[in-house]
Subunit: 359 residues, 2 copies
């Protein structure tokens, strides 16, 4: 029996429970998936949610695995605010499906059902909304998930940006599957499923009107088929993560911090396509920090790494998969890259937002 | 095996599949929960989602009931864009929990887990966000649900409105429970759990700086405890719905259309508090169209109506419950109110938005 009446909160009573970054207001960096995002979760949301929330930062994967009537259900949510709505290789509709499908897949779940919630700005052209909805439907059909429930809200002109989409998703975690960042351990082999940096550069080039010699297209794609193939090898896959906001650097740092392990990667083993390298060198960006929407990073028991790599390469979305490093007991919580010159550099967690509104 | 590559949609190719209301752009009414909202779903979203979507408008309750590994899981989502963030009796944080809990409860489910996704506007005060998060956590604790997964995005100043919140929720539907609008049938007794119109008038009075003789406070509250008590009587509850956007009128019309039945209510049996009546007469509003956030409408087999009413009245959130009408085989799809003068009037589905951004 719960107390239905005790929800009152004194609106004037909130005080900051811990010193947030010296910043009394929300800045773009709080949405960047880096240190500022993590701080907002750790020092603002988790204390506020208290007993109703997740246990702590270590429980906060991209998806939560909960038990409902004996079934292990993976549950996740993401809002999509990318600008522009359409970009080379995809749209906000594709991201809204594939991003949530991938968060489920990174917990080892088979994605099943998605919700779609739109926040529309007054004055948005119905044709634009129709194109987004078409893309969303096509992506759901391609991924084999059903869009079973939804919501539409409209906000006044000037209080939105055309179309914002939220998708939540539920999937089934098969018996025996236990994949989460905290399970990464020293000795694990670190694999990436393909070339990095495509999504972020595609959106950026489109938004800023930049033209490169080769058009860069977003890699947005659903990864649960690839994960299924990896798991069917019988390998002990410890952790999976899709390196979206904050790129490979943010993802590796999150895993290193959550599992209290160190990670060492070899720079030249990380597949970076030529056009991404070119764009990054022109723009002064580091490809390790650029968002991906159809790639995953895996931490796999060393004895199983070869067959996982082989299974990945046998599939279109994993054909450029590569071993890029190892997990180590040294420097826990830190990610180090071995450079081509034999030196080592620290790959830090990004603080804020390198490329805002990329997803 | 799904086709992972076939997600491409020609961005230029979208054409309107059916004549939408003569309006080439989104207007506030598309978010009002009335005829324009329904048309957007029926003529834009469902055709776009096609095989990946729900079967048709009749499948679109407030929550979808799906099966995951044998478990009957209820799944729902809502975004909350209410202005202001805090109002008499509650806040966007309370709504975000209670609204989603109630959508689950209206399918007969026991609410279990919620996701929270924030779209924050650059420049929002951290103290405001903290107050919203505190309210959200308190409401979740009071409702006995856990906030297990989340997301935060930030949009540039001028492209949001402080804080938008999306919550999705999952719950367990007990064996044998089958509650949905389509099950309403002629002969059913129509009950309402208490006084209507409080939430809409509370938000409106606060937003417009109106003062009435008595302060009107939102009725935001989680209703799953009340639903549980109704079901424990063993009664055959056919349909449940919380009359939020579009009020009692929209809810009764939705049920009448979905179940292809008529509904007759007796005006003077509908409990409307004096301050709501006063406010409505000053503002020229009809209380039947005002949003509620802690009330439900039930369609119950006639032989069970008395004990359901008794069970409702025994609980704080149902103490003013009343029988307000009956379901009939006549005028299917239409809702008729008997007035105090013995006449009948049509209670139509609202077209657009009487009070925008009320939830």
């Amino acid at each position: 029996m719960v107390d239905e009446a005790a929800t009152a909160v004194d609106p004037a009573a909130w005080t900051c429970p811990a010193p947030l970054v010296e910043c009394p207001t929300i800045v773009m960096g709080h949405g960047g998936g880096g240190a500022m995002s993590a701080e907002l979760v750790e020092h603002l949301f988790l204390p506020a949610f208290a007993a109703a929330g997740a246990g702590g930062p270590e429980d906060l994967g991209d998806a939560a695995v909960v038990t409902v009537d004996g079934a292990r259900v993976s549950f996740t949510t993401d809002s999509y605010v990318v600008r522009p709505l359409f970009f080379p290789g995809g749209s906000i509709g594709d991201l809204a499906v594939n991003g949530t499908v991938n968060d489920l897949a990174m917990s080892g779940a088979e994605p099943r059902y998605l919700s779609t919630a739109f926040i529309l700005e007054e004055g948005t052209e119905l044709t634009d909304l129709g194109r987004v909805a078409d893309a969303l439907g096509a992506a759901a059909r391609a991924a084999g998930v059903r869009l079973v429930t939804g919501d539409t809200k409209v906000v006044d002109a000037g209080h939105g940006d055309g179309v914002y989409v939220n998708t939540a998703g539920i999937g089934l975690v098969p018996d025996g599957v236990d994949i989460r960042p905290a399970r990464a351990r020293p000795g694990d082999v670190v694999l990436v499923s393909g070339e990095i940096g495509l999504h972020g550069i595609a959106v950026l080039s489109c938004r800023e009107g930049l033209e490169f010699a080769t058009e860069v297209r977003s890699d947005t794609a659903p990864l649960h088929g690839l994960v299924g193939a990896m798991l069917r090898t019988g390998a002990d896959v410890h952790a999976l993560r899709d390196p979206t906001r904050g790129g490979l650097a943010a993802t590796l740092n999150e895993i290193a911090r959550t599992a209290r392990v160190g990670i060492v990667i070899t720079e030249r083993h990380v597949p970076v396509p030529e056009p991404v390298l070119d764009a990054c060198s022109i723009l002064g960006l580091d490809p390790f920090y650029i968002a991906n929407e159809g790639k995953l990073v895996a931490m796999v028991a060393p004895r199983d790494a070869d067959r996982v790599l082989e299974a990945m390469r046998a599939r279109p979305l994993g054909r450029n998969a590569a071993v890029i490093g190892t997990v180590t007991a040294e420097h826990p919580g830190m990610v180090v890259a071995r450079t081509g010159l034999g030196a080592s550099r620290l790959v830090d967690l990004p603080v804020g937002e390198q490329l805002p509104r990329i997803c």
